[in-house]
Symmetry: C2
Subunit: 154 residues, 2 copies
DNA sequence: TATTGTTATACTCTATAACTATA
DNA sequence: TATAGTTATAGAGTATAACAATA
């Protein structure tokens, strides 16, 4: 019944989200690592060492892609490949101390840059954004939830 | 003085924006055109025909990149190159009827998919998101504004 | 035989450097 | 000489198909 309101909200909100995303991402000079690379690093930071296949699934890419991104990160000394003792076919990919340090810096820098923009809003505007955070978090959680027909009631 | 609150808000909001962006973008099967291509099409849709160099600036890419993206779109019949009568060095790039139709469809599809997610939130959550829209719009506008020292007071 | 990864190949997006054509 | 754009070349990210090694 609220489908109409949702579509209208989608029309307003979606382009804005795209723009804000690009603001924070695209103009980030001085960082040598790419979006794909920083995504892998944050994943490994959050979840610890992962098998190549798991990493590919989480990143939403195919295995050959994961292999090549990891290969470049290894060359940069930011991740390492570890043989899996349980299964000799498998490879564990882990972040190195240097990778860890670098991604922390990058995240801090992005947050700082976004914060500068937020600081230029009014107190009221910031309050409204803050109030919307839990709803956004819920939205993000929805995406992870399985989309089986059985889960339609979620 | 509100710098601290901004940084905290940035920490909460920025990762969520990234995730939502990816939800809407990445899992969009059945669309042959790439992100760079759809971005060019929406730009041409919004602003009409542009010179190659203007397009490159707006898209935030170098001219050779614009040239190649446009070349592929021309091959797909979605944009056309028009000689500029005023300056024979220049090229005007315009969207075709087919390009126009295709981008409208794509935008509608993305909005619909995002709306489905929004529809799964509570009325209250949607209300909070709606209330945050003007602040987000302001945020986006800030990025466009020049960053000269003189404009610091904006 | 099935699973885990890698290699081979190809396409898009991106950049810089060198070039052409016009102002 | 300066500007608008293209071509040449290279590297990153992505994919599919074919392969190797292990379970």
């Amino acid at each position: 019944m609220s489908a109409h309101g949702s579509l209208e909200l989608s029309r307003q909100l979606r382009p804005l989200l795209t723009r804000v995303y690009q603001m924070v991402r695209r103009r980030s000079p001085g960082w040598d690592i790419s979006a794909a690379q920083s995504s892998v690093l944050t994943t490994l930071m959050d979840r610890g060492a992962l098998r190549m296949g798991e990493l590919a699934v989480i990143e939403g890419v195919r295995m050959p892609t994961a292999t090549s991104v990891v290969a470049r990160l290894v060359k940069l000394g930011l991740v390492e490949r570890i043989a899996d003792p349980q299964d000799r076919r498998a490879v564990l990919v882990g972040i190195t101390a240097r990778g860890s340090a670098q991604i922390s810096e990058l995240v801090a820098e992005r947050n700082a840059r976004f914060a500068e923009l937020l600081a230029r809003l009014s107190d009221e505007e910031r309050r409204l954004l803050r109030a919307a955070v839990p709803a956004m978090a819920h939205l993000v959680a929805l995406d992870i939830a399985p989309k089986d027909p059985a889960d339609t009631e979620l």
